[in-house]
Amino acid sequence: MKASSSLRSVLTSLALLGAGFAITPVVATLPAAAQSQGAAALTGNVSSAEEGKMEGVVVSAKRKGATFMVSVVSNAQGEFSFPKDRLVPGDYDITMRAIGYTLPATTATVADSSPAQIDLKLNKATHEQLALQMSNSEWMQSAPGSNVEKTTMLRCLDCHGFQRPIFSKKNADEMALVVHRMSAHTANASPDFPFFLTDANETLAKPPTKGEADLAAYIATINLSKGDDWSFPLKPMPRPKGKATQVIVTTYDLPGLAAPHDTLRDARGNVWFSDFQEQFIGKLDPKTGETTQYPVPISKPGFPTGSLMLTMDKEGMIWEGMMGQAQVAKLDPKTGKVDILLAPEWDKGDTRFTMIDALHSDVDGKLWTKTNGGPDPKHANKLYQVDLKTGAFKEFLPPPGRRDIAAYGLVTDLDNNVYSLDNNFDQKQIWRTDAKTGEVHYIDVVNGGGRRGHIDSQNRLWFSQFYTNRYGMYDPKTDKVTQFQVPTPFAGAYDVQYDDVKYAWGADMSTDLVQRLDPVTGEWTAYLLPISINTRHVDVQKTDNPYGTSSVWSEGQQNGKIVHVEPTTP
């Protein structure tokens, strides 16, 4: 980790120059095109004494020293195959994911001549190994408790997994202090960046609220405070089957303490990413695994760094909302130059940028953004339109008597009007603000508000509902919302995007699954990722897909990964 500390120092120095630099890992080049999809580099079978041949085992190959890992999934006959265009010759570590099973340390050597063959014999996991394999969703599916209690607990996932509270031995009173402390942390805090809000001391001088005490009491019923083991059986989800096994997943390691929040693929195939806790704009070259970091200067020393939403305008400029630094950052990828715009209340309290959308700024020369946590508690969240020529911020206000119109997600439509998504269980509306008139149109969504989303080519809004675990699609032509229930319980649906052909792709914070929905037939395909990951934003790759169907990019916000999920059949 000292290397990453040094990295931060370098970043700070380079921030003054506004220059980017490349971090060159040991690189194993990925062939750009699928020249020989039929040929295999590595094949094999997966089996166990308990099940015989096993379907749905995610088998991963990582070349020694490489910064990315390739995964495929075994079929109904227990067979798996890595295409030749995905594994260059070399020595590979082989791992697998099949909950309830383990695999001894395994390696394979891939040669240029003929496919390598390896058979994997899995061992039944012990109870304690199983506990460590459980996804967040599987914990919630296993634990007793009401839907409200479990849904409330999903908030933990903003900063860390359920392993912390569920493996804890704290009783209700002790846990209440912990839950109370969480309200004093910033929205982008994490265990390794435990940022506090400026009023943390005042908050923590007060006792826990009833809601915090209730959540703590619930956690104390499902953690290890009353014994050495959990008081409920652990219930793993079934492994993938059928279509869900026909996929290639590439997982890229990012350097240091990376916490990628949003990913976005540009026309050249580079994947840009924001970092939730550190002050840079990142770029991944998927062909090589090389990562470049473009430092963003600090405006408010001592305040949290990092960014959330990343957006790209039609000229290819990269924009980010820089969270606690209260900045909008713009990167010109051609020159590496970073420019900063400061929020009108940038130096007041905990004002922070979260969302920013420049995708349709070509319509009127404006981008949309918003601040949260401003100094006026009655109007802490502000929606702004920014004139890209002058840098001027224009605030848009809600109708008289209505709450702030800046909420959680922001999504611009094809006319550069903006949708606001409010991420609350009881929120029954989303809304659209007209770019020219400022008129606000409210849209009923039953409940669950919205978290993140995207516009499709038909000007329809696709959005996730985190707490009610649904995807929604709003069609402005009919003024109707269609909702789709995510089949995995307590998934924590975070984002969804339509590929403009057939499928809507979604990611969530709880399951380690990437979901693909056919909205016409209602067919869901859930692709299991090779590691526990906490995905957030999705970016659908609509072109350049060698298997003729859309693929999706997402990220491991809590473990520094970027993933590319490519179905091999429609």
Binding site: L132, R181, P191, D192, F195, A200, G302, N534, Q557
Partner: protein, 103 residues
């Protein structure tokens, strides 16, 4: 208990210990130290100069040798304690490798 009776509770605890304390030992504050940030007061952290049972600041990954903390202001005794005390590695944000907590 509805756990398989053949499972040793001691084994579970041993594993949990590895999931927590071992991770913490691999990630001391001086190794991952995040940038300077607002710290909370000792009162807000419920800091005390004495250990809490077998828990003390010296074994917490937020402790900075010899007498500081990543999150709490002022001088901190390695024998002290506050309610931020943890044995989880700060580098394990929960998105662990399956079967391999921490990263």
């Amino acid at each position: 208990m509805s756990i398989d009776a053949s499972i040793s509770r001691r084994a579970v605890l041993r594993t949990i210990g590895c999931a927590t304390a071992c991770g913490a030992a691999a990630a001391r504050a001086q190794d991952y130290h995040p940038q300077a940030q607002t710290l909370i007061s000792q009162a807000a952290a419920h800091y005390q100069a004495q250990p809490h049972d077998d828990q003390s600041c010296g074994s917490c990954p937020y402790f900075i040798t010899p007498n500081k903390c990543v999150s709490v202001e002022g001088d901190i005794s390695p024998n002290g304690w506050c309610n931020m005390y943890t044995t989880f590695s700060p580098l394990d944000r929960g998105a662990h490798q399956a079967g391999q907590p921490g990263r």
